[in-house]
């Protein structure tokens, strides 16, 4: 089936929202302990919501289109995460890492084509 536009939009939205998840989890990570109460933490809650939203938006989209189109769209998540990490976590990107992200993106696109 030709990929429905709604599925494309859904996956892009899911990836954008989901990409904030790792950033929140990184902020949360020093606070994780064996005590489950440590999860009552705004960073964890934000991260959890981001991941859940991303998943909920993504699953129905799978029914609406080709993996060859949807997979590369999901791969935009890696792009967003690296951008957010520079902006919000003061991490450093460089040419080599961006090249790596590009290779991963190409790889995901190829896997989508080959599925």
């Amino acid at each position: 089936m030709a990929t429905q536009v709604w599925a494309i939009g859904l996956v892009l939205l899911a990836s954008f929202i989901g990409s904030s998840g790792p950033i929140f989890l990184k902020k949360f990570s020093p606070s994780l302990t064996l005590n489950i109460k440590s999860l009552w933490n705004k960073w964890f809650i934000f991260g959890f919501i981001a991941y859940v939203l991303g998943t909920i938006l993504f699953i129905p989209a799978l029914k609406g289109g080709d993996l060859s189109v949807l997979y590369p769209l999901v791969a935009t998540t890696y792009l967003w995460v690296c951008l957010w990490s520079v902006k919000f976590l003061q991490e450093k990107m460089n040419v080599q890492k961006w090249l790596g992200v590009a290779l991963i993106f190409c790889g995901v696109a190829l896997i989508g084509l080959g599925s």
Partner: protein
Amino acid sequence: MMNKKIRSIVLVILCTLFTSVAQVLYKKASGYITLDDPWALLSNYYLLGGMALYAVGAVLLIVALRHGNVSLLYPIIATSYVWVTLLSKYIFGESIEALRWLGVFSIILGISFIAFGEKEPMPLGVEA
């Protein structure tokens, strides 16, 4: 004393093993989702199982993130594509197209670039 960068990377790869199986479960779950009955989601065991495995993966990822940069560790999550491909071939007996193997190779290459391209010292003052 194990290099913190390597330990974080190994933890994330372990995380991807769990999330890969979860992805397989999600794919099966999507076949059972209808819009008529949202409460049926609660008894969708594939969905629940996938979420549980994701939870374990999340804990591993969080522990890994204590000592690693997100821009290093998150792309390594792409390893899950490698696991899913291997699972598809050797557990479910699917035939894998050459394009897909090429994609797997490209991902592994990309992850290597990122791992070796990460020059930052690991954050201080955050002990596991």
